[in-house]
């Protein structure tokens, strides 16, 4: 059926939807700034992901920042249910950061917000039940999960930005790898496009960090190529978990329709 034409004298987002966008963007800005300092009052994100979790670097902090960003953008998209919601939220988030944050930092980082929002918008429209899309997320989780476990078993596990070799059992690698395999099985059984959207957005966030946030192009790229799948797995897991949380909240609030019922691969 041909969709009805939108009247020219109306608003795309209603005032209520604009309110939701502004409130969620403000919460995203607040949580991005305050949650890490509240969760880890005595340490930095780098110390937490490298020393406490034992993850490799650089870029493992994306697990915290990227997940928070994906969660709020996706929650806004699921609550408002209109294309452009995540992009509008990213613009409001940038505006809030510009007016309330540290401008020098924001100017460097604002572009990633727009790209992450665009990826979430685009992938959220993809029919994950069909074709190669249905295998993309489980395949990525499976490959990265197995690689991470293999890296740990073979004794190549490192931690920190300087790739310090892990002494003893690298529990974070085993945990991430097994969690990746479990998520691959779940995503194979229950295909939800928002999990794929946030996962890919998280991976892009990591890639963007490696390529553009150093002193030169690709200056922060992992020096050890074996750590690339491990870090991608961390980003993917952060995106998938944050998307699952946003999706669950939207379902609890009853704002989402029945278009994303779990579909079996066999079907």
């Amino acid at each position: 059926m041909k969709p009805a034409a939108v009247p020219a004298d109306t608003l795309y987002f209603t005032l209520q939807e604009l309110g939701v966008i502004i409130v969620l963007s403000a919460l995203a800005a607040l949580s991005g700034a305050l949650v890490p300092s509240w969760l880890f009052p005595d340490t930095t994100i780098s110390d937490f992901v490298y020393s406490t979790l034992g993850l490799p670097g650089p870029g493992a902090g994306e697990l915290v920042f990227g997940s928070i960003l994906c969660f709020w953008l996706l929650l806004g998209l699921l609550l408002v249910k209109k294309p452009g919601t995540a992009f509008a939220m990213a613009i409001v988030l940038i505006a809030i950061d510009l007016m309330a944050g540290s401008q020098a930092l924001v100017i460097q980082t604002l572009d990633v917000l727009l790209f992450v929002a665009l990826i979430i918008e685009a992938i959220s429209m993809v029919p994950v039940e069909r074709g190669p899309w249905s295998y993309l997320l489980p395949a990525c989780l499976l490959v990265f999960g197995i690689t991470t476990i293999a890296v740990a078993i073979l004794g190549f596990a490192t931690t920190g930005e300087m790739d310090t070799a892990v002494t003893g059992t690298s529990w974070s690698y085993y945990f991430s790898g097994i969690l990746g395999l479990v998520c691959a099985f779940i995503c194979c059984r229950y295909q939800v496009r928002y999990l794929l959207a946030a996962g890919l957005a998280g991976m892009y966030y990591m890639l963007h960090f490696w390529l553009y946030w150093g002193s030169g192009f690709a200056a922060r790229f992992p020096p050890d190529p074996e750590m690339i799948p491990v870090l991608f797995l961390v980003a993917l897991l952060g995106g998938v978990i944050s998307a699952a949380a946003a999706y669950g909240i939207s379902r609890l609030l009853g704002s989402h329709g029945n278009t994303d019922r779990p579909n079996s691969v066999d079907q």
């Binding site: 969709p3 009805a4 034409a5 939108v6 009247p7 020219a8 004298d9 109306t10 608003l11 795309y12 987002f13 604009l18 249910k81 209109k82 294309p83 509008a88 613009i91 409001v92 940038i94 505006a95 809030i96 950061d97 510009l98 007016m99 401008q103 020098a104 924001v106 100017i107 959220s124 429209m125 329709g257 278009t259």
Partner: protein, 63 residues
């Protein structure tokens, strides 16, 4: 005789950031009007294809 007012760099940056931030919010409010968007797309000559695709995606998402 007018004396030049020299602003410190930090103040200029702060002012520019606030102007940019307010401009971004104003941009969202302006482009939230369907009339403005349709006018812009017809001005750019992309009114039909993009508009129809956008309406279709919107109808799919709101199901």
């Amino acid at each position: 005789m007018c004396a030049p007012i020299v602003l410190p760099e930090a103040a200029i940056g702060l002012a520019a950031a606030h102007i940019l931030g307010v401009g971004l919010i104003a941009g969202i409010v302006i482009f939230n009007s369907n009339g403005v968007r349709k006018g812009m797309s017809s001005l750019l000559g992309i009114s039909d294809g993009i508009g129809l695709a956008f309406d279709h995606v919107m109808s799919v998402m709101s199901r």
